[in-house]
Subunit: 291 residues, 2 copies
């Protein structure tokens, strides 16, 4: 019987619910601290650059985060005719913020992250993600995002991006209808909500739940897009777009987005194509209902 | 410093060239033998069904092989107007064979696998992949595939599928221009070659080399399609289609393919969409030339 990797200097994340694990070979630990909310670690790896880990879960590697950050932001922003005001929920590593601010139409971004130390660590060890932190259009707030959204005047934002951790502990409330309802009220009528929605292969039930909760919150048009993400469980991830106007495959701007490694207009449309099993699950008459 | 998964009952594959590893939790080892060519192991896992491992490399899990086998076969077969004669190189687990034989147009499939024991083990532990092995249209040959192709009369096959292991040892010759040239000669004029071409994220140079070798072999139209594959390094994989007529996005049949979990006509087209970095690498003026 084989056993797990017993060599030293590997960081491993176990995914208990799928009985799988992913490891990266490390050269040293660059940072280890306990903030008020979580343990924050940064490792140097041999092939993936620096690695950010929160409470044992991989948040990002320098090598492959471009896919996640581009796919969490550009599909929503490029589908909107004129995105001016954007809210990022979570996103403390600032990778989404950098991508959002590539859009010249954007006048203001509020980023609401609970844990300021994540952003401080990111500024130190992932400076390439934080190049837009000093942009005058960016406002970084370190507070509870649900309170923030609930206290936002109606019709404030054009796009809300939920770049959250997994639905565990505090973050679980970010996957439920009351939060999505508050997002809908904080969005303008033609606004879009984009949330990270985990792995199509191993979290299909969660994707269906997110969609049901969004429907319960009044969103009428949903699209779950999928993309590779090597350092997350199963190597395959998703984001779900929600709006009350749809046509999420219609790219309404001719804005050029600089420096993308993954996103193109064609990739946008391709990512919206569900594999057969996901299409079947989404259209099934007995998909789970929101409570 | 964290270390790798040190628990018992995990199977781990290390990918040295990317400094990453993937593990599955196992319950027991079902099979361990040494054939004339390689070590063959089968593990029962907690969440991915049975797992086939050759010389320490994951070949497939019961849970996620459907993506690979569908994407190795249906894009080529559905692009061909009337695929009648098909060659599978490798493919000893018989998953590609099963998918090919879903196409009613197919009159004969030659499968040429070096190691008969892989097929015997697959019949025992992955019977769901071997349901077409007794189809009268299927001929299983256990011999050297390069010799087979070189001795095939010209204009024999409509589609050739190269379902090989990684380009190590014997299999390395399956990634080179002389073999691709023999494939082109064995194909009819409107024929298609489909080869597994590793990970877009961690084997980009190999993908570019495969494409250069195919060009050197006389193929004029190449498309590299990408798809998730959880149990392969990086969780993201590719296949490359080659022909002398192109239009690999044009689905020429209205044949219904039963029981697909991943492939749809829309997925076919989406998979052909290269991410930005792959598109840039493919179209770069200084892409590596075949020697």
């Amino acid at each position: 019987m084989s056993t797990g990797p017993e060599r030293e200097n590997w960081f491993t994340e176990y995914c208990e619910e799928s009985g799988s694990a992913f490891s990266l070979r490390t050269t040293r630990e660059l940072h280890d601290s306990h903030s008020r909310y979580q343990r924050i670690q940064v490792f140097a790896t041999t092939n993936f650059g620096n690695l950010l880990v929160l409470d044992g879960f991989v948040m990002l590697s320098a090598r492959d985060n471009f896919i996640y950050h581009e796919m969490m932001t550009h599909p929503a922003l490029c589908t909107h005719t004129d995105p001016r005001h954007v809210l990022i929920v979570g996103g403390g590593d600032c990778g989404c913020l950098r991508e959002v601010l590539k859009h010249d139409s954007v006048k203001r971004v509020d980023q609401v992250e609970l844990d300021a130390e994540v952003t401080r660590v990111s500024e130190k060890f992932f400076p390439e993600l934080c190049t837009a932190n000093d942009d005058p259009r960016a406002s970084l707030h370190f507070t509870d995002a649900i309170d923030w959204v609930e206290n936002t005047p109606p019709q404030t934002y054009d796009v809300i991006i939920v770049d959250s951790t997994d639905p565990i502990g505090q973050a679980a409330r970010l996957f439920a209808a009351p939060f999505y309802r508050a997002c809908r009220q904080a969005l303008r009528d033609d606004g879009l909500l984009a949330v990270q929605s985990e792995s199509p292969l191993i979290h299909l039930d969660l994707i269906l739940s997110i969609r049901a909760q969004m429907t319960a919150a009044g969103f009428t048009h949903l699209d779950t897009l999928n993309f590779p993400q090597c350092t997350y469980p199963s190597g395959w991830w998703s984001a779900t777009l929600a709006s009350t106007r749809g046509a999420h495959d219609r790219i309404r701007s001719t804005r050029e987005i600089s420096g993308c490694g993954y996103y193109t207009a064609e990739v946008h449309r391709a990512a919206l194509t569900p594999p057969a099993f996901l299409r079947a699950a989404i259209t099934a008459p007995h998909a789970p209902e929101a409570s």
